[in-house]
Amino acid sequence: MQSGSNAFLEALRAIAPAAVPDWVLMVTAAVIGFAIALGLISVAALFFVWLERKVAGHIQCRYGPMYAGGWHGWAQSLADGVKLMLKEDLVPRDADRALFIFAPGLVLAAILGAMAAYPLAPAVFFGQFSLGVFFIVAMSSMTTIGVVMAGWASNSKWTTYGAMREAAQVVAYEIPLGLSLLVPVMAAGTLDLRAASAMQSGLWGMDWLIMPWNNPFMLPAGVLFLVAALAETKRAPFDLPEAESELVAGFMTEYSGIRWSFFFMEEYAAMFLMSAVGAVFFLGGFESPLTHLAAQIGGTELFVRDAAGTLAFDASAIPYQIVAGLTLLAKTVFGVFLMMWLRWTLPRVRIDQVMTMGYKYLTPLALLCVVGAAAWEAIKHALWS
């Protein structure tokens, strides 16, 4: 598969008649990919908002939404979304109008861009990213610019507080996040999410990187990653930029309607992506005994290149692709659930404690993990090769 292509382009190339020029296929593939990513983000955000409310409800001895849509209020987020869309579009008089309107868009665009590196299934993906995890971390930290922009443009003291906290916090936690991700990257030897996942398929799909025989530094790195990811996605106990009891609503105090919901969507999409990265590197990605079984039954590659060099569609690989995709999705949802569980259990830490923890404890610990993991890998290579 050539670099820079994506699964949809491959599929189109295999299906389309030869007369169709290649650029048409490229544009079509891009449009399809974008539509799927947008749909995925929207549906994921709607689902996670509902899930959050249900999780919160059940943790707090209540039910959460129960009416909209019938079964356990499944349509609650949909109804809320419609309400938000129909609300008046309000921009405060003293706000910096252009920036105020631009900020939510930037936030959403950044996270949508990061989504491009998320692999739906081993052979269904938006783009061939050899720098996948780097791309996700880089794009999702771009949302900070949008948040700072929103906080500043709102021209309110509370939003400025929220924005400054966000900036300080994200800068502080980007370091341990990146360092803790370096450990699995070193263990896998790749930044590509799909390649990293494929590496873990041994032992009936249980040869995960986090298993101690692969690298004993993976487990502490995983814990560090979880903490840093919570701070990075501004989730409790690190939800200081929007600490509702201190800063009213932090950087989004002045936002309402659909623009406000953009920030909301970004939050849940960021949680989803961070969990996906965590799932790939720390929880085995696509691999599980179930995936292994599916791979045993049918093929694994959707498009097989025959001797003549033409791509041929292999339908027997469909079960494997579906099982693998769902495995990653399940692990990702578990990660998101973990974040929600923490949010509804723990109090919020203070801003100076957040900074102390980030700089004084997480960063050195992450560095230690990186050094340890590097030494481990070096010894392993020296012994085996």
């Binding site: 600490a243 509702e244 009891s245 201190e246 723990l346 919020r348 100076d352 404690q353």
Partner: protein, 400 residues
């Protein structure tokens, strides 16, 4: 006011410090910011406005502004008949309405010089202590929410709901009871009520450690509250602070024991309750954690008091022989009782007519809110929320 707004760290010129402001020397040149903390702010628990002067995240000055909920309660006390004022007492500290009823009734009874049937006294104490539990549940629960822990709040509301259902059974109201009347009680407890109170006590006692573990000794909660907002005992006395704040600062003073009223003296002599006094377990004596701990412990003690009353309950009337239209003889009296938030004092003056000449209320929240000016400067903005929450003020009562 005007000159104080201009001067800040800008030109390095000495600025006029307002009341509640303090000078801080920082290693970087910064500019102060004035923030309106409230009146519509989630952490002020009502409509209070605190004008905060902040240098980044550091609070350098704080000035509470009260009065958004002023309803002329004391003036109303002079304009309506004795009994008619009782529902107004419900509305100053709406989380502890039974205690307010008790305070006012006892003040009027003191002027009248009447004795209350023992059964009425016992039910009064049961109600007052149950209400103290409900009030502290709100105090600790919302405090958790201020710190960012949402869940304990809803757990505590579950128990408070039951407490309110108990009151609903005894008087029909859930928040503003007007149940404790001048001369006794509105009516007797319904059949089976005492048994349910006993069941509530057992259930609550079983739940208590759950809350303690979930919130009070939670690592993050301790980090947020220990050594934060320390009010030394001396300052407490200077500001006239009472209630859990005073005991949270290590001052051993509880009106129920030290100036006993109703049957509390008897209960104390029976050894049925203790007065929890903070010892600075997690940090310094008088920090936010201590105040919360005192509230938690007081709930346990209230349960013990309720149990004592249930064990000593006896048959009899619940209302003293008083006329339908109350005329209070000429005289005056001050009665202070231990409200969940501190000393609630009622000073009533009568000239022998159907109405009071003066009803003066010494509200604990009103006195306690004054200390914010002293403790907020030097704290972080996030700590400000923690400190305000730990004083547990009810704006309905500060403003009256």
């Amino acid at each position: 006011m005007s000159d104080t707004h201009t001067a800040s760290g800008l030109g390095g010129d000495a600025r006029v410090l307002r009341s509640g402001e303090r000078e801080f020397t920082l290693d970087v040149r910064t500019q102060d910011m004035e923030i309106n903390f409230g009146p519509q702010h989630p952490a002020t628990h009502g409509v209070m406005r605190i004008l905060i002067r902040a240098d980044g995240e550091l609070v350098t000055g704080a000035q509470p502004h009260l009065g958004y909920l002023h309803r002329c309660a004391e003036k109303i006390g002079e304009s309506v008949e004795w009994l008619q004022y009782l529902p107004y007492t419900d509305r100053y500290d709406y989380l502890a309405a039974m205690n307010n009823n008790l305070g006012y009734s006892m003040a009027v009874e003191a002027v009248m010089g009447i004795a209350i049937p023992r059964r009425a006294e016992l039910i009064r104490i049961i109600c007052a202590e149950l209400n103290r539990i409900g009030s502290h549940l709100i105090a600790v629960g919302t405090y958790g929410m201020d710190i960012g822990a949402f869940t304990p709040f809803l757990y505590m509301f579950r128990e408070r709901e039951w407490m309110m259902a108990l009151f609903e059974k005894i008087c029909g109201a859930r928040l503003t009871y007007s149940y404790i009347r001048i001369g006794g009680l509105f009516n007797d407890a319904p059949p089976g009520w005492f048994e349910e109170v006993a069941l509530f006590c057992d259930t609550f006692e079983a739940k208590w450690p759950e809350y303690y573990d979930l919130l009070i000794v939670n690592k993050i909660f301790v980090k947020r509250t220990a050594n934060v907002g320390v009010i030394p005992g001396r300052v407490c006395l200077d500001f006239g602070l009472t209630g859990p704040i005073l005991r949270g600062s290590g001052v051993d003073w509880d009106l129920r024991r030290d100036m006993p009223y109703s049957l509390y003296g008897e209960i104390w002599r029976d050894g049925a309750f203790q007065v929890p006094v903070a010892r600075g377990e997690m940090g310094t004596v008088g920090d936010c954690w201590d105040r919360t701990w005192v509230r938690m412990r007081e709930m346990q003690e209230s349960i013990r008091i309720v149990r004592w009353c249930l064990a000593h309950i006896e048959e009899g009337p619940v209302m003293a022989e008083i006329p339908k239209i109350l005329k209070v003889p000429k005289g005056e009296a001050y009665v202070g009782i231990e409200n969940p938030r501190g000393e609630l004092g009622h000073y009533v003056v009568s000239d022998g007519e159907k109405m009071a000449v003066r009803v003066r209320v010494r509200g604990p929240s009103f006195c306690n809110v004054a200390v914010l000016e002293d403790v907020l400067p030097g704290a972080l903005v996030a700590d400000a929320v923690a400190i305000i929450g730990s004083t547990d003020i009810v704006m309905g009562e500060t403003d009256r």
